[in-house]
């Protein structure tokens, strides 16, 4: 982690003014709270909703996720970015119980989530959407929505047989669902099969369905992927609304404009590790991030001297391994050079 990325509070604040939501500071409590947080990996947040510690997940020899410490600020939008294969979706799966880690612990509101099944995590108020949208095709849009409601009496086998026990609750849920559908402009489609919706509408439906459970944390896996620009704007608006309702949002996204627009804090992953954290403005200047996306030598061809250096370094290491016990690396290098 390069030292120059540790900013002063004033630096961060001056950058913050340039962001589009700067004028609506009262709503962006999380941004204000994060103003004085140093831009360091694993830094402690003032009011973390989710704390991840030493989580690793390996698939055979591949370490997909290895996160030492990560805290997610409550009530803020945290963007999770990184090149393909960085482990973003795997981290999502681990956090929501869809996958189990090899080591590590994580907690939500201080409650450990370690051994919970996906539905138990969801019941605690952490809901997610999927990278490949999972609209339930042969259910109507309204049925999709109703499924999101929690604590339904009619979902138990015996009470399902006595409609009187669940009818009033169903009615209340239906009204809530219709409100949400109106907000997401899907109310005209409520009686159509979800399978007939367009890709973008399915994304909207999935987000609306997640909101039916009154979640505290919403995890969106690439909510804008494959959505046309007009709909992206509307989706962005909905994500910002979630924050204003006090929800904590974590989202994975590749579009940097989107990330810069709505995130309060950005976490960058590469090769399974968190390589940088900070407000969105800090990320594009971060050398580690640039290296992860573009490669360490992306901006200049190797010079002859550099190439020699690299070669010498490689030879030194080989010699190192061959010699077994090494007294002093300098003498080894000299010996090789002769």
């Amino acid at each position: 982690m390069p030292a120059e990325n540790t900013p002063t509070g004033a630096h961060a604040a001056s950058l913050g003014k340039g962001s589009p939501a700067g004028g609506r500071a009262p709503q962006r409590l999380a941004q204000a709270a994060l103003r004085d947080v140093p831009w360091e990996v694993g830094v402690a947040k003032p009011d973390p909703a989710i704390v991840v510690e030493n989580v690793t997940r390996t698939f055979g020899g591949l370490t997909a996720v290895s996160v030492d410490r990560l805290e997610v600020q409550r009530g803020g939008i945290t963007g999770l970015i990184g090149p393909n294969g960085a482990g973003k979706t795997t981290l999502f799966n681990l956090l929501t119980g869809f996958d189990q880690p090899n080591t590590g612990t994580w907690s939500f509101d201080g409650r450990p989530l370690g051994k919970l099944a996906p539905h138990q995590v969801a019941r605690l108020g952490v809901v997610r959407t999927f990278q490949l949208t999972k609209a339930l095709s042969r259910l109507t849009v309204l049925e999709n929505m109703l499924l999101g409601a929690q604590g339904q009496r009619g979902e138990s086998f015996l009470r399902a047989l006595v409609p009187g026990t669940w009818r009033s609750q169903e009615k209340a849920n239906t009204e809530k669902a219709l409100d949400l559908l109106r907000r997401f402009k899907l109310d005209a489609k409520k009686d159509e099969f979800a399978g007939t919706l367009s890709g973008g509408q399915r994304k909207l439906l999935e987000m609306a369905r997640a909101l039916m459970s009154d979640p505290q944390v919403v995890m969106l896996d690439e909510p804008m992927a494959g959505v046309n620009p007009a709909l992206t704007q509307s989706l962005l608006g909905h994500v910002k609304d979630l924050r204003e309702e006090g929800m904590t949002v974590i989202f994975v996204e590749h579009d940097m404009d989107v990330v810069r627009d709505i995130s309060d804090w950005v976490v960058v992953m590469a090769a399974g590790r968190v390589i940088a954290e900070g407000p969105p403005e800090s990320i594009s200047q971060n050398q580690a991030v640039v290296d992860a996306y573009l490669g360490a030598h992306h901006d200049a061809p190797l010079t002859v001297e550099e190439e020699d250096q690299v070669l010498a370094e490689a030879e030194r290491r080989i010699a190192h391994e061959e010699n077994g016990e090494v007294i002093d690396s300098d003498t080894t290098t000299r010996g090789e050079g002769r």
């Binding site: 996906p118 999972k134 049925e143 109703l146 009619g154 138990s156 669940w166 007939t196």
Partner: protein
Amino acid sequence: MGDLINALAVAGKSALGFQAVFFALLAIGLNVHFGYTGLLNFGQIGFALLGGFGIAISVSQWGLNFWVGVLVGLGAAVVLALLLGLPTLRLRADYLAIATIATAEGLRLLFRSVSASGVTGGTRGLSAFNGDFVSLAPWDTGQRYSILGTRWSGGELWVALVGWVLVALLCLLVWLLVRSPWGRVLKAIREDEDAVRALGKNVYLYKMQSLVLGGVIGALGGMVYVVGTGAANPDQFQNANTFLAYAVLILGGAARVLGPVVGAVILLFVIQFADTGLRALISNGIIPEGLLSATDVAQIRFVLVGLGLMLLLVFRPQGIFGDRREVMLDAR
């Protein structure tokens, strides 16, 4: 002309007899599994076998009351569903299919084996266990009755009547369940389990409930069958019946409450009509003996059924009751 009317009458009797009830019940169970929950149960006949032998063994071997035998059969079906579901329902759908198809065949071979013959009667099976039930009939079961040109024994009529009442009650049960939020969760599991998990539903529990419910309905089918034939023989429970039940389900329309019932009536009508009709045509010389002999009819009728199913899938893939829009969604 007389032959045609006779063939229609015989086919009509078969479509309303206890065999049709048997297939309707198997298919109602499969409808809960496959139509609503998306579980691939390829061993429904195993549940029917346990139901049928539950009564047969309890009554003729252990000397218990008929109704205790019914409870034993239902209990055995629940245990089988739990045994099949516990290890496989957490895995992908195909594992349940493998486990069920193997278990159904394994159970049949176990029940007909020599070592089990002390309990199950081996290949000869068991009989004389339905007396308690048949004696409940409000009419004389020893007599034969003539209804619309068909001859029914009093016992047959009684089993068929009770069977259809049972079918009606179970259709009502399924209807109540699938229009409730519980049924909505089942249908959602059929579409995408992970999405349902992410919405806070215990998918495993729902799949288990579905497996038990459908299995118990299948066991009731087996009971109707053994009570109707008056004998329980392991070889009556060939797994081909599971696939006929699937044909019934697809014919009537999966995920429709009445689909399996209508499917069962039509399938049995067509099979019996083809059988009687072809035999009549052969004996009248309309179909020359050299082309098709009476002994081939038993096989040919299934060829005709297969042909009919293929035509159905081409021209009406949703079945008789299904919603075409629903089926077309998958083709997109």
